[in-house]
């Protein structure tokens, strides 16, 4: 019901929206909750376990009941708090956790079955028979459980992540936060002021107080006007600070587009990482409920929320309202309501010494014993001593006092402390380094107390930032003391709710205690108290108090309540913004990329790189046909492939050779200029780190090649070795991977192709290198091979890569050759027994791959000591071998090897397969594998078993080099 002349909504801007298929009217400035209230919609959701009808409880992000699905063109967002969802034209929302409808929910049968659904129900009921779990229990539970549903489709909405930096972060823009931010910003520091509401002001917009003789909202407007003139103050509304992390880092979620119709490129939400030198938590306090029988009936809500709905949205949820409160703050609510012409039928105040209230009846020393009205409150029972009276009301505002919103102070392991005066937990100083807590969040509940604490926190923060902090007069405001008589529950034999969202009652907590779960951590897990989307904001403290009652202990002795991030739910879409699809990682493209795609080569990801798999020719229908042809092309004429992805590290300096000797197992300092050597690099723990060639370009100039996979790793390793062990050596190294496009040219006609491309014969011996001029461009030529054929690698600056690739392919094609892709490259190197990171996977030693002789005895090197340790060499280890199936059968990488006749157990595994390919040359599948004592077992027959792919084949064990084992082709 709307109250004319009240509220901050814009009555000149009517809006229509749809809830559960019905169209309603509201105004700009409404939330979905206030607009539903204005339309007298009382039931807005169903509870999680018992499917009880529920109404709006609060006016903030802590709302446990009014969780709805918001339907957009590309999104279906469940568990949206109707209290936070601002209204916009065309908003479509749907209640959740009901079937088929809010009015008739068939799962409400759970409510009748409540005696069987008490705490621990899942643990007790579904334990056995075990076989029923997957088939019956789990689907059943999943159907009934859950708050809201996902669409099952991709969320195509726009989200973003961003960084912000400031000197002082102020969290919350109520009286304390506004005062703190203003004081600090006036002093000139950079301030970010975050508030989760659409409008700053906090409770100053909800309560009808006065500041400096003006309505509080006018004072807020004045402060905001001044703030707008301060360029060093950044106000972030609709932004919830969700987490406090190490070293002044905070997470915050901004609702950018959720309150308006979608627009292209406008993010729905932004997840901010805010880095602040200092921070002030001024997040206010949350009113808490009192548990009594059926206190979850629609129409029972927080007293302070009534003030918010009236003063901020101009709406009341009933015609005849009662209040049940043990503090004075609810009196303001009563006065506001009465001043607005709403009947306040009674105030039920458990305090014997409570004051009278003009205009209504105060029941002193009384409690509300129960509520009636399943689909909406009709009546309450007032109990005083032994007598009970009934009162017809359609709304009840409840206040059990206030809990400081101290959640962020718990995020770095801080534990709050119990204040007996406030009957509430308050934060400890220093819980978050650099953070001060001010105002209601720190237990100062009066307006004056908040303003004073905000100003003081700002001054202290400024001092810590090394800034002078001028004293300014504080605005005048009420400074009423906080008087509370703690009351957590009204005794009942029926159910009284604590956690509305998870349907946890006082009975459940008592049962938990009775069954021995007396620690608060056990109780929470046993009852699911505090595990719903509101994370116990409304109920954890009360549940702790009820547990204390049940166990006969005081609250501080029973435990504490703590909170982890996030303060409010953060959508995964916001946290993962930018990471969808290709956004997950950068894409690295070769200079030959366009030319390869022009030839319809499918691309395969190799780390971040995109490399061509194969180059299909007309008529080829499978990758194998193309791959086989490309392999035979290289073996019989010439092939060209892009190897620019290999890491290239330029190493210069008088100590370069010495440095290479230290990082490689073999000796490089003796390599002549113009020559290339294969090198093996170990980790300090004796395992193989990487392998590759290294060329000596000049007396003090070398070029190291790494594998594609380990390029970054090797650079990091070299930096470590240099900086940690020999920082004074005259050597520096720089990655030049990106600067060169490099192509392998391999095959019996490789020399012809190079001769054609250079206009002269290469004139290089095997493992030679030289500078060359390639069609007018300075480049480099290496005679190295990864295929077993005569091979060259030719490099030019990256900008010329595409032109050179197209040129080389065109020339190759005139010779019966052409491009080859990763698949053929892999088969070629398996035929030749060359290893990749499939073999040097982090657990292999030089000995395992047959390279122990490459570990020079004459010098120290990284990994040498560990490589010689027991267990790192010898026949008990798995050693690199080749495998050839005895029958024409595919074999697979990952398969395990067993002696014939051995039982197929893990213990009997004698090794495993690392690489496989089909050799069109040998007309056989081939594998590289590690086999225990493999080098001594060439010629044996071994059983290859892959139970995942149902492969069981006998193979003969061979040396790993199938093709040209003497290397005659390379040296030709």
């Amino acid at each position: 019901m709307r109250i004319d002349s009240k509220g901050r909504i814009d009555r000149s801007r009517p809006l229509t929206f749809v809830f559960d298929g019905t169209s309603y009217a509201g105004f700009k400035g409404d939330t979905l909750a206030s607009a539903l209230m204005a339309n007298n919609v009382r039931v807005v959701g169903r509870s999680f376990k018992y499917h009880r009808p529920r109404g709006i409880l609060t006016a903030g992000s802590e709302e446990p009941n009014a969780l709805v699905e918001v339907l957009g063109p590309s999104n279906q967002t469940p568990n949206t708090r109707a209290t936070m969802q601002e209204l916009f034209e065309g908003l479509v929302a749907r209640s959740q956790n009901r079937w088929p409808s809010l009015g008739l929910d068939l799962l409400e049968v759970n409510d009748l079955a409540a005696p069987f659904l008490s705490a621990g129900f899942y643990y007790k009921t579904f334990m056995w028979p075990r076989r029923l779990w997957e088939g019956l229990y789990e689907p059943l539970i999943r159907r009934a459980a859950g708050l809201g549903r996902l669409s099952g489709k991709h969320d195509e909405g726009t989200y973003e992540k961003a960084w912000a930096h400031c000197d002082l972060l102020v969290i919350g823009a109520g009286p304390a936060g506004l005062m703190a931010a203003l004081t600090a910003a006036r002093a000139g520091v950079d301030v970010i002021l975050c508030d989760e509401s659409s409008e700053p002001g906090g409770r100053l917009l909800s309560d009808e107080g006065a500041i400096d003789g003006l309505p509080a909202a006018d004072w807020v407007a004045g402060v905001l006007a001044e703030m707008a003139s301060l360029p060093n103050l950044r106000l972030m509304t609709r932004t919830t600070v969700t987490g406090a992390y190490d070293d002044g880092t905070f997470g915050a979620l901004e609702r950018v587009g959720l309150h308006r119709r979608p627009r292209p490129n406008l993010p729905r939400e932004c997840f901010w990482r805010i880095v602040a030198k200092r921070s002030i938590l001024a997040a206010g306090a949350l009113e808490r409920a009192i548990a009594f029988e059926n206190n979850d009936r629609p129409g029972v809500m927080m007293a302070s929320a009534l003030s918010t709905y009236l003063n901020r949205y101009g709406v009341v949820p009933g015609k005849r309202i009662a209040l049940f409160a043990n503090t004075d703050s609810a009196r303001n609510t009563a006065r506001s309501l009465m001043a607005a012409g709403v009947e306040v039928a009674a105030i039920i105040d458990p305090r014997e010494d409570a004051a009278e209230e003009p205009g209504t009846t105060v029941h002193r020393g009384a409690v509300v014993a129960r509520a009636r009205g399943r689909m909406g409150l009709r009546e309450i029972t007032i109990r005083k001593g032994a007598s009970e009276t009934r009162l017809s009301v359609d709304c009840l505002g409840v206040s059990g006092g206030w809990n400081p919103t101290l959640h962020l102070t718990c995020h770095m392991n801080g534990r709050p402390r119990w204040s007996a005066d406030l009957a509430a937990f308050v934060p400890n100083d220093g819980a978050i380094p650099g953070m001060l807590v001010a105002g209601a969040a720190n237990g100062s509940f009066s307006t004056h107390g908040c303003l004073a604490a905000g100003a003081e926190a700002a001054r202290a923060s400024l001092a810590a930032l090394g800034m002078a902090a001028p004293m300014a007069a504080l605005p005048q405001a009420e400074d009423a003391p906080y008087a509370i008589a703690p009351l957590w529950q009204v005794p009942t034999k029926k159910r009284a709710w604590l956690d509305f969202a998870n349907d946890v009652t006082t009975k459940d907590v008592a049962l938990s205690a009775q069954e021995g779960f007396t620690s608060v951590e056990h109780m929470k897990r046993y009852t699911t108290q505090g595990m719903a989307p509101d994370q116990g904001k409304n109920s954890n403290v009360a549940a702790l108090a009820v547990l204390a009652d049940a166990t006969g202990r005081g609250i501080p002795e029973t435990g504490t309540t703590t909170f982890r991030p996030p303060f409010a739910p953060v959508s995964i879409a916001a946290m993962g913004a930018g990471g969808r699809g290709a956004g997950f990682a950068p894409q690295r493209f070769l200079t030959s990329d366009r030319a390869s795609r022009d030839r319809h080569a499918p691309m395969i990801e190799a780390g971040l790189w995109y490399r061509p798999s194969y180059f299909p020719k007309p008529g080829e229908t499978t990758w194998r046909e193309s791959c086989d042809r490309e392999v035979m092309m290289v073996r019989s004429s010439v092939g060209v492939t892009d190897v620019s992805t290999l890491g290239k590290i330029d190493i210069q300096g008088p100590d370069a050779g010495r440095f290479l000797d230290f990082v490689y197992t073999n000796t490089f300092s003796t390599l002549p200029v113009g020559r290339v050597r294969y090198g093996l690099m170990l980790r300090e723990d004796g395992h193989v780190l990487d392998d590759g060639t290294c060329a000596r370009l000049g007396e003090t100039h070398w070029l190291m090649t790494t594998t594609t996979a380990a390029a970054g790793l090797v650079m990091r390793h070299l930096d470590f070795v240099h900086q940690a062990f020999c920082a004074d050596w005259q050597v520096r190294f720089t990655s030049v991977t990106e600067g060169w496009a490099q192509f392998a040219v391999a095959g019996p006609r490789a020399r012809d192709l190079i001769t054609s491309a250079l206009g002269r014969a290469p004139g290089l011996p095997f493992m030679g290198c030289s500078d060359v001029t390639v069609q007018g461009i300075a480049g480099r030529l290496f005679r190295i091979s990864f295929s077993g054929e005569e091979g060259y690698e030719i490099a030019v600056p990256t900008r010329y890569g595409e032109a050179l690739f197209r040129d080389l392919i065109a020339r190759a094609e005139t010779m019966g050759g052409g491009p080859y892709g990763m698949e053929a490259l892999n088969v070629l190197r398996i035929e030749k027994g060359f290893i990749t990171h499939a073999e040097i996977h982090g657990r292999t030693t030089a000995c395992d791959i047959g390279m122990e002789k490459m570990v020079s005895a004459k010098k120290d090197c990284i990994g040498k000591a560990a490589a010689a340790r027991p267990g790192m060499t010898g026949p008990e280890r798995e050693q690199l071998v080749g495998l050839k199936p005895l029958t024409d059968s595919p074999i697979t990488a990952g398969a395990h090897l067993f002696a014939q006749g051995a039982e197929l157990t893990r213990e009997n595994s004698a090794g495993y397969v690392t690489s496989v390919g089909y050799s069109p040359l040998l007309k056989s599948h081939l594998a590289l594998a590690f086999l225990k004592n493999g080098r001594a077992r060439h010629g044996e027959t071994i059983r290859l078993v892959d139970r995942l792919r149902d492969i069981d084949v006998l193979c003969s064990v061979t040396g790993p080099v199938f093709h040209d084992p003497e290397g005659e082709k390379l040296r030709a």
Binding site: T249, M412, D719, F720, Q723, F725
Partner: protein
């Protein structure tokens, strides 16, 4: 978490690569006893309190850094360049 690189200033931890304990700086000589190598490679304290470990400013200046920090309070007590030479 943020680390103040002696070259680059305060940076988010996403820019850094974690390696392991600062023990890795004390490489035994080639002739050292096997136990010295075991200690160097594998045996580590796991202190509740001050510890030193190695971080690489990978998305930054490429300096290796020795970070002294408290595992209980998360306080960063010092960040030093392994090779020295920082401002």
């Amino acid at each position: 978490m943020r680390l103040t690189c002696p070259f680059c200033g305060p940076r988010d931890r996403r820019e850094f690569h974690y390696y392991g304990a600062a023990d890795y700086l004390n490489r035994p000589g080639p002739e050292a006893a096997a136990s010295a190598w075991d200690d160097y490679l594998h045996n580590r304290d796991n202190p509740a309190g001050v510890t030193q470990d190695l971080w690489y400013h990978e998305q930054g200046c490429a300096a290796w850094l020795k970070v002294t920090r408290n595992t209980v309070t998360h306080e960063i007590l010092a960040v030093d360049a392994v090779a020295g030479g920082a401002a």
